[in-house]
């Protein structure tokens, strides 16, 4: 394989990471002690810098995995290489915007 890892491999690696991160996210945010129900609970949870770091990693991973999945779907439709590049560019921008939005949200409450 070329030195440059392809999108498929990144998709697989992010998926693998998500299995761990999503389990943590789900259990801590929604199951443990009934989940994070109030604003204060959320603030307290995110005040731990390790937790915050983990959540930001989770945010980045889930956005990448989801949008790479959308990209795979678009490529499955047999679009031209040019269209594929355009779609990739749009998804990269969308991903960055979503990530920015997530970080802004964290910043707003921490």
């Amino acid at each position: 394989m070329s030195r440059r890892l392809n999108t498929w491999v990144w998709q697989a690696l992010s998926g693998l990471l998500l299995v761990v991160l999503l389990a943590v996210h789900l259990i801590v945010n929604h199951f443990a002690a009934g989940g994070l129900l109030t604003y204060q609970q959320v603030v307290a949870y995110l005040s731990n810098p390790w937790v915050l770091g983990l959540e930001i990693l989770f945010l980045a991973t889930v956005i990448f995995h989801a949008l790479a999945g959308v990209r795979a779907l678009v490529l499955d439709t047999g679009v031209s290489a040019k269209t594929a590049r355009a779609v990739t560019a749009v998804l990269v921008v969308l991903g960055l915007l979503l990530f920015g939005y997530g970080v802004w949200l964290f910043a707003a409450i921490v």
Binding site: M1, N6, A84
Partner: protein, 232 residues
């Protein structure tokens, strides 16, 4: 003897267009195959077109859909289908020429550049000793170039540029037994997003394959080879 209803897809550009189904009542015996039925029907209707050659599942020309599934008509026993009505249609994901005849050109456009040798070392009867001048026993490759796998693949269904299971399986064979072929060149052909990374492992190709090529498994073998850098 039993009577079975055959519904056969008919299409002739400009003539039978849109396509229609013709219905026939056919008397079949224990050993009658779908191809035998087509041969019988053509005696009365010479306009019925279909591909066929070897009549024993070795040439791969008579691929078609029988009751919605990809099969070789010559090895598909009619009574074993256990349906009163047998629906016969052309393969999916291929240009349609006439009735059950599809154009194989796009198949070979992807398949030919792989350059898979047509003979391989035979794994049968491993203890038998070949004569000196023969070296090792050989046999023809499994792939019949029938395009059933392409018809069954949900990715080929929407992406005509995808290399597809047959060509990818051929590439995997070159990696397994190069017989003088350029392994790195072949891997370069498949290591991209129209190659082995486009597959979503639905494994419908392997379910459809009439001759144990197992294209899905071969694609997974290619991925393993590339991921592990095994060919270096």
């Amino acid at each position: 003897m039993a009577t079975v209803t055959f519904k056969i897809y008919r299409y002739k550009p400009g003539e039978i267009d849109p396509p229609r189904y013709d219905t026939f009542q056919v008397e079949v015996e224990d050993h009658t195959t779908v191809l035998d039925v087509l041969e019988m029907l053509r005696l009365d209707d010479p306009t019925l077109t279909y591909r066929h050659s070897c009549h024993h599942g070795s040439c791969g020309t008579c691929g078609m859909l029988v009751n919605g599934k990809e099969v070789l008509a010559c090895v598909t026993n009619v009574l074993a289908l256990k349906t009163k009505t047998v629906v016969v249609e052309p393969l999916r994901n291929a240009p349609l020429v006439s009735d059950l005849v599809v154009d194989m050109t796009p198949f070979f456009e992807k398949y030919e550049p792989i350059g898979m040798p047509y003979v391989r070392a035979s794994e049968y009867l491993p203890h038998s000793q070949p004569p000196e001048e023969v070296g090792s026993y050989m046999r023809f490759e499994n792939c019949l170039e029938c395009a059933l796998c392409l018809s069954a693949c949900p990715v080929v269904a929407t992406d005509p540029d995808y290399l597809g299971p047959a060509a990818l399986a051929a590439a995997a064979r070159v990696v397994q037994e190069p017989r003088g072929q350029d392994v790195h060149g072949v891997l370069a052909l498949v290591d991209n997003e129209k190659g082995c990374w486009r597959c979503h492992a639905a494994m419908e190709c392997s379910a459809a394959c009439p001759n144990d090529v197992n294209p899905g498994g071969m694609i997974m073998f290619l991925r393993e080879t590339l991921l592990a850098g095994k060919h270096k």
